[in-house]
């Protein structure tokens, strides 16, 4: 037995040590690592009916990945433009949602982090309450507002801003508002945690030295809050790229989210390997993208999640 395991059992006792080790191994290996590897393996296999699985036809193939790029064999187009367009649109939209959230959340995180008083706690409760409401119900609420006879259209028609109802849903405005709405808290809290620990004297000093307010933010607050900002952005980006409920409820009839394609492969086409391949593509692209952006802004991986 290696030294560190021996120490571990000495410290926790045999029974407790086994329980802890067992649970941790079950979680890390049984729930996290093996299922992901299994999905990876699955994505390289053809879609076979159950009796043929493990048979001679069950060989590794790149077919599922080729399908995403080139479309069905003998198709009319050289590339699978429909799916690829959905894929890139999802990524671009997720980036836009992240930037939108960063812009609207930074001021409030700064305000909450740097001011004092009992109203801050009330604000915190008001922030958390929407997060406790079901994701589906939040999307539903936005649908009531953005619908053709919804509150916004009634309001603007009444004010005479426009004369025919504006279709927020078909124009994807409802979808972006819904995605932004869903993940506001995940953007605010990491930023708030970091900004709260910023010494006010630093801001005072900058102000005394004559810096205008925007330069204080640019040179003092934002560099200090960088780990919080990057954690928030990472979470919002990953979650909105992987969102399923909001696009299903708020998305227009003609615009799809990439997760909806995965969902269709699984539930409508019953093509699990294809769906697994799409899921792998989504996961890997998102991780690579996040790592690239982090390198670009010189953020360490270890700062995330602190």
């Amino acid at each position: 037995m290696p030294q560190f395991l021996k120490e571990f059992f000495n410290r926790n006792g045999t029974g407790m040590g086994l329980a802890i080790l067992g649970l941790v191994l079950f979680w890390t290996i049984g729930l996290i690592i093996l299922p992901q590897l299994s999905m990876l393996d699955f994505s390289f296999r053809p879609n076979l009916p159950p009796p043929e699985i493990g048979g001679p036809k069950d060989v590794y193939t790149l077919e599922n990945y080729k399908y995403l790029i080139y479309g069905p064999e003998g198709g009319s187009q050289d590339y699978n433009t429909v799916d690829l367009r959905v894929f890139f649109r999802t990524l671009v939209a997720a980036v836009c949602v992240t930037i939108f959230n960063l812009i609207i959340c930074y001021p409030i995180a700064y305000y909450l982090g740097q001011s004092e008083g009992s109203h801050i706690r009330i604000f915190a409760i008001m922030l958390i309450i929407p997060y406790w409401i079901n994701e589906i119900l939040r999307a539903f609420a936005l649908r009531i507002i953005f619908g053709e006879t919804g509150v916004l259209n009634t309001l603007f028609l009444g004010l005479g801003v426009w004369d025919t109802p504006f279709d927020f849903i078909r124009n994807d405005i409802a979808l972006y508002a819904g995605l932004g709405y869903a993940y506001i808290l995940l953007m605010i809290f990491p930023m708030y945690n970091v900004i709260e620990s910023l010494d006010k004297n630093q801001i005072e000093a900058a102000r005394d030295l004559g810096a205008p307010w925007w330069r204080i933010h640019w040179r003092v607050v934002i560099p200090y809050a960088k780990p919080g900002i990057s954690s928030g952005c990472t979470m919002v980006f990953m979650l909105s790229a992987g969102a399923l409920a909001a696009p299903q409820i708020l998305g227009g009839p003609s615009s799809l989210w990439f997760t909806q394609l995965i969902y269709q492969q699984f539930n409508d086409n019953n093509d699990w390997p294809q769906g697994a391949a799409y899921a792998i593509v989504l996961l890997v692209t998102c991780i690579l993208f996040v790592l690239a952006v982090m390198r670009l802004f010189k953020v360490n991986m270890g700062d995330i999640g602190k």
């Binding site: 409030i108 922030l127 009531i144 990472t234």
Partner: protein, 423 residues
């Protein structure tokens, strides 16, 4: 200088921000009380509580709540246990492995829920096949798969909550217990567990809420046991009714209630602590005057106001009967529809006359094109005369009950379905 300008813009910004955050919830809650068959605020028809009744008769919703509770309970037990074990392991793992281990157990938070759901499904399906079990075995059971899939990432949340408290734990306490002859299990149960209790409680609440509202993972794993969230999603996707608003209102009210209660309790503890600190010796000796529950405790005051408002609403709901108002609205709608039909008929008549005149001008080679329709029904029975309902469709005149007395002779024009506007 422009300090007051900055201050005002901060408040305007805060107002807009909270409007965006809370406005949708308020509007959704209000639509639960409008009698309109489509959830909306305007036009306001009648105050009604019928949607709550409808909600409680919906078997699928009730069944979904039951499944959600079972799955939530399973997820809480599994993920708190795994989270605690994971946190304990994090504090004592070999330093060289620490970073890798931390990355592995934190990763499920960042992996999209869809991917977690798929990998759980694929992996356990394979295990099931390897063991040679059938499609109805325990391993392919919807509840088992959902609990497993959700716990994968919820355990990470629990771990984060638990490790924050564990870092403040003094290991010397456990060592002292062991020196005094306690077994490891006893030391764990009597020393560490009581210390961790507040964190375990918050981790459990967090895990339950996360499980209750999860959609992305569950949608792949639920099998034959749809949770409340799945049922809601299906309802919302295929036609929405105010009964969903009613459910949302209940959830919002419960959330606000518990949040205020928690806040009031915390505030009271704080006030008591301050009072103790400032108390003189004889006050501490017996007659310490603790602040009353409401003094300086805004959350407590709000809590009471909120509770009174809820009781009033429930009381009103028990006695209030919107039947008259609904009947009025229906009558009004009927009149409107009638008016529209009349207008339509007039237009048609005019168009026909115009056409006749044109034809007459053209020389009248043809015989009279149509017998003039002198019956009281106008052209309503002509197949196209119902087109008017199309243009009006978005308005959504959808009446849950059928129109009562239909003696106007317009046939099925008032049949609720003919005018049903579907969003």
């Amino acid at each position: 200088m422009n300090n007051s300008f900055l201050r005002i813009s901060i408040w305007v910004y805060l107002a807009i921000f909270f409007l965006y955050l809370l406005g949708p919830l308020v509007i959704m809650s209000i639509t639960a009380f409008n009698s309109s068959g489509f959830p909306r605020m305007s036009p306001w028809e009648c105050l009604t509580f019928q949607w709550f009744g409808e909600l409680f008769q919906d078997q699928r919703i009730l069944n979904g709540i039951k499944n959600s509770l079972i799955i939530g309970l399973g997820t809480v037990v599994l993920s708190v246990a795994m989270g605690l074990a994971g946190a304990l392991m994090l504090t004592q793992i070999w330093p060289k492995l620490r970073a890798t281990y931390y990355t592995i157990i934190i990763a499920p938070i960042l992996i999209p829920g869809v991917v977690l759901g798929i990998s759980t499904l694929v992996f356990w399906d394979r295990i099931n096949r390897m063991l040679g079990l059938g499609a109805d075995s325990f391993l392919s059971n919807g509840i088992f798969l959902t609990v497993i899939g959700q716990s994968t990432f919820i355990a990470s949340y629990c771990m984060l909550v638990l490790v924050a408290r564990l870092q403040r734990y003094d290991v010397a306490l456990t060592e002292a217990a062991l020196d005094l002859g306690a077994s490891h299990a006893q030391a764990f149960r009597k020393i560490l567990l009581p210390f961790m209790r507040p964190a375990i409680a918050s981790a459990a609440v967090l895990a339950f809420l996360a499980s209750f509202e999860n959609y992305n993972t569950t949608t792949f794993t639920f099998g034959e046991y749809p949770t409340l969230t799945i049922e809601l999603a299906q309802k919302v996707r295929y036609g929405i009714t105010p009964a969903i608003s009613a459910l949302a209102f209940i959830i919002v009210a419960l959330t606000v209630f518990f949040a205020l209660m928690n806040e009031a309790k915390l505030k009271r503890q704080e006030l008591v602590a301050v009072a103790r600190k400032n108390a003189t010796v004889e006050e501490l000796a017996g007659k310490i005057k603790l602040p009353s529950f409401f003094a300086g405790n805004m959350a407590a005051v709000l809590l009471v106001v909120f509770a009174v408002a809820t009781i009033t609403v429930v009381g009103t709901a028990a006695t209030y009967n919107p039947g008259q108002c609904i009947a009025d609205i229906r009558e009004q709608k009927q009149l409107e529809a009638e008016q529209r039909i009349q207008e339509l008929r007039k237009q048609r008549e005019e168009r026909r006359k115009q056409r006749e005149a044109e034809e007459a001008e053209q020389g009248g080679a043809q015989t009279a094109p149509k017998p003039s329709n002198n019956s009281g029904f106008g052209n309503v029975f002509a197949p196209n005369s119902l087109d008017g309902s199309e243009t009006e469709g978005e308005d959504g005149v959808s009446e849950p009950e059928s129109a009562p007395s239909n003696n106007s002779g317009f046939g099925g024009v008032f049949d609720p379905n003919s005018l049903q506007g579907d969003e």
